[in-house]
């Protein structure tokens, strides 16, 4: 049951992180007066609606203004706009938590809604699709090549790939994406430069899936190439560290087969720290996804970020910041739970 306790502890820390991010977000919004503006915008939206509906029953403009004024005061009271901003923090936190952030300025969801939660949630699966696929591919490749390099540590082959992987680390993800578009989409015309589906998308389900795959290839390739260098290098280092441990020599001395040594004495032992690397790399992957989506016009939350920045749409940006943190924390929690399964030292 120690596992449960430790897991719960990690969960609490991560919740603490989420809460800190939330607090950071709402305090920034409050102190800069942005949250006031957001609320006032909501109020004037409501008043506008009220005016059009009342205009049909109340003919006297003075009377109308009076009713509206009354309503405005009620709303200000209701939203707490007559109080200083820090009194409204709990309320704001709840609104961010429930993505109840009103409507976007110009941005619309694919289905035409301009409610922030609609816009943002619609994009969520697209981002998750991109990030997880890329993460799995680069994780597996990194594992494979990292182990390969560690076995050949010190050789020319090893040094060459060490250089390659630091180049890959030095490559800005988004720039790499641009290069791929120039090269593979425009020069060689192998992949489409942007989007998630052809327009119009194929109606047949299988064809549609293939179309998606075809469109996803370049963004995924970009994410993989940009992150694989760091991967390979850290796997290599960790495998090398483990390979020098005494218990590996002892395993060999016991006459175990080289494949057994590799599997159970090196990779299995290196797995938890490698997983730690994955956990630490997660933030980078999410960041990479934001940039890659921007470059490839992939209709996920990352591209939405870019669009929201260009459109100066605070509500959407707040929602995205919160959602990205949430995804990050959930993913971390899952990985850390996995870590506890893998490493008996933490388990007991």
């Amino acid at each position: 049951m120690i596992v449960g306790k430790k897991l719960a502890l990690r969960g609490i820390t991560l919740l603490g992180v989420l809460f800190s991010v939330l607090l950071l977000v709402v305090v920034t919004l409050g102190a800069t007066g942005l949250s006031d503006n957001m609320l006032k915008a909501i109020v004037s939206d409501q008043l506008r609606e009220l005016r059009t509906s009342l205009a049909q029953t109340i003919r006297d403009p003075l009377e109308l203004e009076k009713v509206l004024e009354q309503r405005r005061n009620q709303l200000y009271d209701f939203y707490g706009l007559d109080e200083p901003w820090y009194n409204r923090l709990p309320d704001l936190i709840i609104r961010v938590l429930s993505l109840d952030l009103g409507s976007a300025r110009n941005l619309k969801s694919f289905s035409g809604s301009s409610k922030v939660s609609d816009i943002v949630l619609e994009r969520l699966p697209n981002t998750i699709l991109l990030v997880t696929t890329a993460l799995i591919i680069s994780g597996l490749l990194g594992l494979y090549f990292g182990v390969k390099l560690a076995i050949k540590a010190g050789t020319k082959f090893d040094r060459f790939f060490s250089y390659l992987s630091s180049i890959s680390y030095a490559l800005p993800t988004w720039w790499l994406g641009i290069i791929f578009i120039l090269l593979l989409a425009f020069q060689l015309r192998i992949f489409p430069p942007t989007g998630m589906y052809s327009s119009p998308p194929p109606s047949d389900n299988l064809l549609k899936f293939l179309d998606l795959l075809w469109h996803a290839s370049l963004p995924i390739l970009t994410l993989v190439v940009a992150s694989i260098g760091g991967w390979i290098y850290s796997v290599r280092t960790m495998v090398l560290n483990v390979a020098q441990e005494d218990f590996v020599t002892l395993g060999r001395a016991k006459g175990l087969k080289e494949s057994t040594i590799m599997k159970r004495y090196i990779i299995r032992v290196a797995a938890p720290p490698i997983l730690t690397g994955l956990i630490l790399g997660l933030a980078g992957s999410l960041g990479g996804a934001i940039l890659t989506e921007t470059v490839f016009g992939w209709p996920g939350m990352g591209r939405l970020y870019y669009d929201a920045i260009l459109a100066l749409d605070e509500n959407v940006i707040i929602a995205l910041t919160f959602l990205f943190t949430l995804i990050y924390i959930i993913a971390r929690f899952i990985l850390e739970a996995l870590y506890m399964v893998l490493d008996p030292r933490v388990r007991y």
């Binding site: 992180v17 920034t28 040094r159 630091s166 030095a170 490559l171 800005p172 641009i178 940006i317 971390r332």
Partner: protein, 468 residues
């Protein structure tokens, strides 16, 4: 002192190459700092009028070497002055040798010193290889001033006449073509294409092709006082190529912008990584060595900060608080130190149990002295390597943020140049000179520090092992 270390550092290729690249980066940065004004970003880079005479989105001049169809170079021609009676004649002569038209033609007159406020008459003539002087435009320049002569006119902002976009010029040149070649082209059509096509073209079948040969453009100013002067007169033939690195959509010389990016990138990388190293090490040592409440506090704080996703927060904070470079750097530092602190803390916990530390404590050394004399030196090589290693991270983060359109507008960076190129559809229009170089520079800079960090590894690791 560090002979052995330097030898090991330079042993592999990465140390040598990294150091060479770093020297180059540093030299370029120092050159820029010495020769560029500090407010370069505001005064020049983001001031459109400064770039008005530059060709827009053209590739670098050396592109012509690789191209089958060389584009005209950008030319700025100064005037030969003649004056008689009250006439000032500015004459610009040039030869047109390219198979392509200049991308635009414009006239810049400035620094008029006038002795009266009477209106001036400006006349513009063109002489082509196939013609006598053609009057292109006549314009009256009026001015109102208070006070006494001499009056300074067009000092801050010169008078610009874009021959390419001027309706009078279009009209005159189209009627010339129709007179001479019986070639019909409407003034409006010409305006949309740019009048330079007609000014330097002759009809072949139903299109205009460049007419090579000697040209002369004359500006005739009828002055009201013989002592009146025009201090600046230039004719600009917009090139199809420009400079070492080409230009962007505002006509800005990318070479200059890219050059300015060097010190900015190094500054970001150096300041962020240094402060991260400083704060990270300090907190790590305090937390590991002192223990107690400060340890708990630092551990909690670093645990939470290290677990926050950086880019979304960077986006949010710069968006809300403003696009300022110092703010970005501050955020990078605030979220950067915990990683190092966690590492240093665990190192210090090990070092703390070493005999010489215990001996020093027994001898009554103060805590500060033990930290400075014994603990910090043990961690220093590691901290240094980490510091170098974290430079690319800061540079890449700023570039990423700039690429999302959240760069500091008062300082041009490589990321911002790329961002504009991307936003202006650079990928689709194939503006390779705009998109490739900034990315390459970011990469080379990041790579330089990675190479150095790689070469430092053998220096750091044996110590780490010794500590284990």
């Amino acid at each position: 002192m560090f002979k052995e270390e330097i030898k090991i550092f330079l042993k592999g290729g990465s140390g040598k190459v990294g150091l060479a690249l770093f020297t180059l980066l540093l030299a370029l940065s120092l050159y820029v700092i010495a020769s560029f004004p500090l407010d370069f970003g505001v005064r020049y880079w983001n001031n459109p009028s400064y770039w008005a005479d530059y060709p827009i989105t053209v590739p670098p001049a050396w592109y012509n070497f690789f191209s089958d169809n060389p584009k005209p170079e950008h030319k700025i021609i100064s005037a030969e002055e003649k004056s008689f009676d009250n006439n000032l004649q500015l004459s610009f002569r040039f030869k047109q040798v390219y198979d392509d038209f200049p991308s635009f033609i414009s006239l810049r007159l400035g620094k008029f010193t006038l002795n009266s406020l009477n209106p001036l008459t400006l006349e513009l003539y063109l002489k082509r290889p196939d013609s006598e002087f053609i009057l292109l435009k006549r314009q009256i320049l009026t001015s109102s001033f208070e006070g006494n002569p001499p009056f300074n006119l067009y000092f801050d902002e010169p008078l610009r006449i874009s021959l390419t976009a001027d309706p009078d010029v279009s009209f005159e040149i189209s009627s010339f073509l129709s007179r001479k070649y019986n070639f019909k082209i409407l003034q409006t059509e010409l305006l949309s294409k740019g009048a330079h096509v007609a000014l330097f073209g002759k009809p072949e079948k139903d299109i205009l092709i460049p007419l090579k040969g000697d040209y002369e453009i004359v500006v005739n100013l009828k002055l009201s006082d013989p002592k009146d002067k025009v201090g600046e007169a230039r004719l600009i033939l917009g090139g199809g190529v420009y400079g070492l690195m080409g230009t962007d959509s505002l006509g800005r010389d990318l070479f200059v912008g890219l050059l300015f990016g060097f010190p900015v990138a190094l500054f970001i990388g150096a300041v962020v990584s240094f402060l991260v190293a400083l704060i990270g090490t300090f907190n790590g040592i305090i937390s590991g060595y002192m223990g107690g409440k400060s340890d708990t506090l630092i551990q909690r704080a670093s645990d939470i900060l290290a677990n926050m996703p950086l880019l979304p927060l960077l986006i949010f904070l710069t968006f809300v608080l403003g696009q300022k470079l110092w703010l970005v750097m501050l955020i990078l530092i605030v979220f950067g130190w915990p990683g190092l602190t966690i590492l240093i803390r665990s190192m210090v916990l090990q070092i703390k149990s070493f005999q010489f530390i215990e001996a020093a404590q027994a001898l009554g050394s103060t805590r500060g002295r033990i930290i400075l004399k014994h603990i910090f030196p043990q961690t220093a090589p590691f901290v240094f390597a980490q510091m170098i290693f974290s430079v690319p991270g800061a540079i890449l983060a700023e570039a990423a943020l700039s690429f999302l359109g959240l760069g500091d507008p008062s300082l041009p960076t490589w990321g911002q140049i790329l961002e504009l190129g991307f936003r202006r559809g650079g990928i689709y229009s194939g503006y390779w000179w705009w998109i490739l170089p900034p990315g390459i520079l970011i990469m080379i800079t990041a790579f330089t520090f990675l190479l150095i960090a790689l070469a430092l590894e053998p220096l750091v690791n044996p110590r780490l092992r010794r500590i284990k």
